[in-house]
Symmetry: C2
Subunit: 393 residues, 2 copies
Amino acid sequence: MKINEHYLDLKDSYLFSTVGRKARTYAQEHPDRKVISLGIGDVTLPLAPVVVDAMRAAAKEMGDAATFRGYGPEQGYAFLREAIQRYYAERGVTLSADEIFVSDGAKSDLGNLLDIFALDNTVLIPDPVYPVYQDTNTMLGRQVIYADANAGNGFLPLPDDSVHADVIYLCSPNNPTGAVYNREQLTRGVAYARREHAVILFDAAYECFIRDPEIPHSIYQIEGAQECAIEVCSFSKIAGFTGTRCGYTVVPMALTSGDTKLNSLWLRRQTTKFNGVSYVVQKAAEAVFTPEGRVQIETAIDYYHRNAQVMMQGMKDLGIWFTGGSASPYIWLKCPREMGSWEFFDFLLENASVVGTPGCGFGSNGEGFFRLTAFGNYEQTVEAVDRIKKLLG
Amino acid sequence: MKINEHYLDLKDSYLFSTVGRKARTYAQEHPDRKVISLGIGDVTLPLAPVVVDAMRAAAKEMGDAATFRGYGPEQGYAFLREAIQRYYAERGVTLSADEIFVSDGAKSDLGNLLDIFALDNTVLIPDPVYPVYQDTNTMLGRQVIYADANAGNGFLPLPDDSVHADVIYLCSPNNPTGAVYNREQLTRGVAYARREHAVILFDAAYECFIRDPEIPHSIYQIEGAQECAIEVCSFSKIAGFTGTRCGYTVVPMALTSGDTKLNSLWLRRQTTKFNGVSYVVQKAAEAVFTPEGRVQIETAIDYYHRNAQVMMQGMKDLGIWFTGGSASPYIWLKCPREMGSWEFFDFLLENASVVGTPGCGFGSNGEGFFRLTAFGNYEQTVEAVDRIKKLLG
């Protein structure tokens, strides 16, 4: 047998392992200092009570012959797809329930969606980027071109009219930069995709952090997007489901290639290579959309927002350029004093005992930038920002 | 953008939808008759109490900041991988925990595993077969050759020495036929794979139905198999997890292609395109392996076994050729009176109000055969067999 040789082209990412190793070594060598991490991309607040109750009730149902559930629909139970449908309707986006597919998370879908496209498509990826976009295409040997994100365009690149791409990744609010596209920018993205007969893979995993009513939560708030975009979303950040695993993907019926509906292809992919999400997890996700659930998850998002505000104010006070924070748990800052990403990492760790993430780990355009996250504890976030201000002020 | 054209080569399967439609029409036209289905491939008994308790306790942990879990390891928590490791050790199979990958189910893994192999590999699939093996390869445009299963070889085909294959599917106990390979047959399969440098994808989803101590539960009970086989298993049938979603795949460190460990490729695939199984589901799966859990799941398997015994005795009494049943929830029988699969389906439905599954739906060699399943209710199974005996006796 022969292996898929494209796997040998994958670069190993040592970003988070190196960050972890350096932080541990520092802590061992300085047992007197309290290290604060603003480096994690994972939520820290527990699941909302209404979610836990729903999961416990569903588990009980599964233990009773009268209410037990075996195989469910691969694309998700109607109760959850209809709840998601209503969530979109709140923003004026009309979807049918069979345009919505429930999955075990955005990461799985973002990789698996590539199955339905031809191998010789050209893929456009922003730099810096969530590494999964790059790696899943490298695994298939696909040609990848990059859209440069930088301080000049606010880390909000759009495809250049002079290049052709078939598949375009857009992530808004962005991971890792926290930047968020406005309506005008997304309108230009959709116009490009329609003109080039390209498909946008729109990663909306962080949409719940958007507070400005002028900023779209969904690409489908842009006219014509249902003809050119697939949207991937997740309960991970909206409701702390990183360890509970549930997401969803929208493939509109209007999205076609010739006579073929992409919805039919994705349905065929999911019914053949997937067997649906656990019933108890789908019931937990449904609870997120109840009035009580909405209030409870908002409390957690508020908490992370407050952390972000603290970090944003700190950067403003120091006169450091940054983006993100207002619609995102991420602050993406220019390393002060012309330091490189790793140089600033070491400087911050050694002099303030604060851990962040070097921007260069997300792509070459990330060099000289640095990511801080709002997923930590509030008091520790305040203390970390105080330390950074003392160090750099 | 261009779509993956191989999706257009997929044949639509109308097997189960046609079965359902015919059964519904019959029931509407004969409201006085009680239709009994021996057609389903899904479990019907509820989750074991110990499993439900574990799931409810885990949900509670997730609602408490002190015990909340975010992202877990993509390959599964150590507590579950080590429980699976001990399950294998009971059969004398020594695995390390990092050879075991927890997933959301065997169906996902069986399709996703193909990612790590070159597209120009030749794939050998039995006929009749679980349709997922065929379809997932068709989606990639792979060359597929068939191993004929028939009454002559007891529906237990092995690769023919005269042909070369790179990837070989073996499913034992088999879906749809219920036939189970013995040690000598599996030894021949392993010898073929080692000689041809092929990899066996061994689907052991039904291993828990094996009672004969001479029959291997795992391909790794055959010497040399760790150098040529990947094994896929599931909690679906062992513990009724069809709607709870958990499985596992074993990729031994000894399985290599040149210098490359397939374990490293699969780890890279899973860490890039998957984010692990829900914590609550992994805790539920762990509970299956407790002493209490083992007793409770055995009760359910015994129940299905008793149904299978009733069906086997019925076929013996009628002198109908069949395989399966002893190590499987499936009975695969030769349609009596030289009837075709659909002809027998209609005959049985119209004259005994019993629903089964036409064998031709699983491949051309299934024509003239018929599948009955033991996943139903005991009293109904007894009644269905009585009706069949009255009809054909």
